[in-house]
Amino acid sequence: MIGDFSEGANVVRAAYERRMLLRYVALTVALFVPLLAAFASVRNLYPFAASTMMMEGGELQSGRSYYVLRGESVAGETFDLPPVELTNALSGRTWSLVAAAVENKSFTIPSPHPANAALAASVGGIERLPRAARLEDLLRDCRLRPRDA
């Protein structure tokens, strides 16, 4: 009986390992085909990254914009207010969020938020929008609060 079981167990095991082999082939293809495509096109298409980190720099003549968040005390004193001291919600991405908000990038995507589409239509098109049209929303929504979750 034990011999029969051992043979049966081997058959079950072989079938299990065949299933795992197929699963691993599918997983490898599902991960690496899009990764290869992203790499070949040098284009990040979430969730597939093209490893385009730290490519910029070098050009001394090209201008750069950077932003500093400052606050004002009741006494009228201006002080630097690093966002990371207020929240870590975006962990390392605040600088690019602010730059995108200043450049109205959320208006230029193929399918913008209905409120953004309405705002752009109300001023006669995206090109007529004032710079940083939604920055006020960001500053209002991200005022100093204790971390609570």
């Binding site: 009986m1 034990i2 079981f5 167990a9 079950v12 095991r13 299990y16 390992e17 795992m20 691993y24 997983l27 991960l31 990764l35 790499f39 040098v42 990040n44 298409l45 979430y46 969730p47 990254a49 093209a50 490893s51 385009t52 980190m53 730290m54 490519m55 720099g57 070098g58 050009e59 750069r64 950077y66 500093v68 968040l69 690093p82 990371v84 207020l86 929240t87 870590n88 919600a89 975006l90 962990s91 390392g92 991405r93 605040t94 600088w95 690019s96 969020l97 995108a100 959320s106 995507i109 938020h113 953004n116 939604r134 929303d137 960001l138 929504d141 991200c142 609060r145 971390r147 979750a149």
Partner: protein
């Protein structure tokens, strides 16, 4: 290359535990206060409607997301309902990271962790070192391939991130990447604002040593190109991973850019059962092992082990 169930289980616990700690330490309530009008859904995130994002980006909506992530990752860390919890962790984490990238830029730090979670989701990583393995009291029995291939795949995915990063730099920037102004400009660019997570100013010293920076950049590029050697060679692995730690710490102080997820994922290169064997020299570790064995109960004498879908050894006796 470790090829046993325990190694895969330990990697699962380490990866999921790290992601869990990061999620626990992040303020989701503030994320929920960001206006949806600043969102630019990236890639696969475009499949969700604006109505969905409006409902999600509220303190209650993101708190629900955080609760789901914490429960799922905690279960995956301890190996409870591992098949389900690793899959839900991978799906929730890929969604959460996509949400963050829809506000900011497409940064690369967490991406290997996303892929590694997907590998774990489709590997039998709950067969050992897990709550799921407790009732069996037997070692899992499958070929080295079943447990070894996922470890190999995870190592390749991390090496891919570094290796292709070097190739893309060479392809896009060419030899200009070795310009003496490249590193100082890049570093200073990331040190001017106060919006980064750190505010180190060592970048402003770089122009004084700009003639040396091309060599440093070339060295880093060579290290990135050599990273795949860490997959197979033990000696190369020690050198490459140590250099990786130094590199990421230096970028933190010079560029205000840090890659904690990349660093944490180095754990897929460690043979954890071998580390555990080395720790047996220490009395405290042996005592902890004894407590663990008593908690787990004695192993059955004939436990060659069986997978859950195989008849158990006790069934065999009855037959």
């Amino acid at each position: 290359m470790p090829t046993d169930a325990a190694a895969l289980g330990m990697i699962r616990a380490g990866v999921c535990g790290f992601v869990l700690s990061e999620i626990l330490l992040t303020s989701f309530s503030d994320l929920g206060r960001l206006p949806a009008t600043l969102l630019r859904p990236t890639g696969a995130m475009q499949i969700f409607s604006w109505r969905f994002y409006d409902a999600l980006l509220t303190p209650a909506g993101v708190l629900a997301l955080k609760c789901l992530l914490v429960v799922s990752l905690a279960a995956a860390t301890v190996g409870y309902m591992t098949g389900l919890s690793t899959k839900s962790s991978a799906l929730l984490f890929v969604f959460y990271e996509g949400l963050l990238r829809s506000f900011g830029h497409f940064n690369h730090d967490e991406m290997p962790a996303v892929y590694i979670l997907f590998v774990l989701a489709f590997a039998p990583c709950g067969d050992a070192f897990s709550v799921d393995a407790w009732p069996r009291k037997s070692s899992p029995r499958a070929s080295a391939f079943v447990y070894g291939y996922p470890v190999l795949l995870m190592r390749i995915l991390l090496a891919w991130s570094y290796f292709t990063s070097a190739l893309v730099k060479l392809r896009v920037a060419g030899l200009n990447y070795f310009s003496p102004d490249n590193l100082p400009t890049l570093a200073i660019m990331h040190s001017l604002d106060n919006l980064h997570d750190t505010h180190h100013h060592l970048a402003f010293l770089l122009p004084r040593v700009r003639h040396v920076t091309p060599y440093a950049v070339a060295l880093v590029l060579l290290w990135e190109l050599a990273f795949p050697l860490a997959i197979f060679s033990k000696r190369a692995r020690r050198l490459i991973l140590a250099a990786g730690v130094v590199f990421h710490v230096v970028t933190l102080f010079l560029l205000n850019v840090f890659f904690p997820y990349h660093l944490a994922m180095y754990l897929v290169f460690v043979d954890w059962p071998s580390v555990a064997r080395k720790l047996e020299r220490f009395g405290w570790f042996r005592r902890a092992q004894r407590v663990w064995r008593e908690l787990r109960g004695p192993r059955e004498a004939f436990a060659g082990g069986a997978r859950p879908d195989e008849p158990s050894s006790s069934d065999a006796k009855e037959n």
